[in-house]
Symmetry: C2
Subunit: 256 residues, 2 copies
Amino acid sequence: MYRYEYPRPAVTVDVVIFSMRADDLVVLLVKRKLAPYKGQWALPGGFVNPNESLDRACARELEEETGLSNVRFQQLGAFGDPGRDPRGHTISVAFFTFIVAESAILRAGDDAAEVAWHPLANLAKELPTGTHPAPVRRTKARAVVGKGGKPARPSRATKKGTIDLAFDHRRIIDMAQMCLVERLRDPTRAASFDLVPSHFTMSELQRVYEVVLQHPLDKRNFRAKLLAAHLIEPASASRRGPHRPAQLYRWKGAAR
Amino acid sequence: MYRYEYPRPAVTVDVVIFSMRADDLVVLLVKRKLAPYKGQWALPGGFVNPNESLDRACARELEEETGLSNVRFQQLGAFGDPGRDPRGHTISVAFFTFIVAESAILRAGDDAAEVAWHPLANLAKELPTGTHPAPVRRTKARAVVGKGGKPARPSRATKKGTIDLAFDHRRIIDMAQMCLVERLRDPTRAASFDLVPSHFTMSELQRVYEVVLQHPLDKRNFRAKLLAAHLIEPASASRRGPHRPAQLYRWKGAAR
DNA sequence: CGAGCATGGTGTGACGAGCACACGAAGTCA
DNA sequence: TGACTTCGTGTGCTCGTCACACCATGCTCG
């Protein structure tokens, strides 16, 4: 039937996956195996296949590059500035979510030389608006916290302790973070993320909030607001430790 | 340099422009001059040119099809279900905004046979999920409120008084409306839209809110909240009528 | 020119949400 | 058994939100 054959921009998906790791807000990155930006860290993602929905492309790319599956995303938006990809005009649809790092089994595959969680604080700031970083090849090595919490491969970095991301991925992460904070303000919307394992204590959940929002919360107010939302319920067990055991909670409607 | 030549989905932009007209929330539509969905109403929009940013594509398509320029948009998101466009896999990045209809001079151009504001209430409901309407050719005529508030061309319709939109545009409009409501709840974010002309009375602005939010607001609370936000200031003049003159306001920081 | 009419403009009190605040309870460990 | 650590809870204040009714002002029309 009808079909225009104008030159087309390419379409990719990129995924921002946040998590908590030792009181840090971390994001899942892959080290690129191919040009452009070969050897630099980037968001998992890739080209959309013909007749593939955006959500499916997102899930597929994530699975191919990191081994993760069964993750639900929120769409963040489309990024389409010409020049954001040295291969040519490329429009990226970004997704984001939050998962529990401990339950994620990572496996670098496909175009990824490596997969690791990186604290947001270790990433170089977004460049002054307009310009995008050109792919670089040579840089001094730098240790970062990687998979498993142990020091990982040295990686490219330009400033003390910071990693430059490929493409405009730093900007995408910034926007995802803003969006995440926005969601967390409303408990109902926050419940769509896996902020904590299926059973959790109040303090565990509160710590996630504090790390993401970047300011401390009052224990009692936090508890009261969350309970008022009727989204969680006490689970039978409690968590032990070198102190008084804590009540475990779980999301309402979750399978026992 | 590097360049993949996989088959690519096409990329379009679509624009949802809301406005007020005689106590109705209206949206700007164009009647398609070309297949697919020839003769049906659709959102203004079209293909993204090579090396054109999404915002620029959006502004260009809007200008080409409706004559409108100098409009600022917010991005709504990307719609990429395969099957949403009978021409083949097409990803549309949607934008939306709100403008003052009275100050908009419309001119159908390019692929548009006609341009008109349509009350949201006159549009057919979104179809049951999953399916998308196939292009239809023959249908019974139906009068709708068009450009200028007068009855416009008869148009395609399937149910009494409702118009079926092309593609998944009805769904896009629904999402834009939800997003619009969301923004209006926060005066700061609402200020990025042209809800009212540069000088306006409290009641005029309030009426816009009531129409969009679809419920009445208390006059005093509305006034108080808006003034508390320090976003508007009284202008010198006042508006006359067959009653007590009303104080005019304008957005702070607006040119005198 | 005065009465009626339509809209403009204003203050208060009730209520609930959010916040800051301190202390006893229940375990572990030495 | 005492010290320590984290858990769990109730109250009072403040502030924002909401509902609510009346007089003011200018126009029109008889």
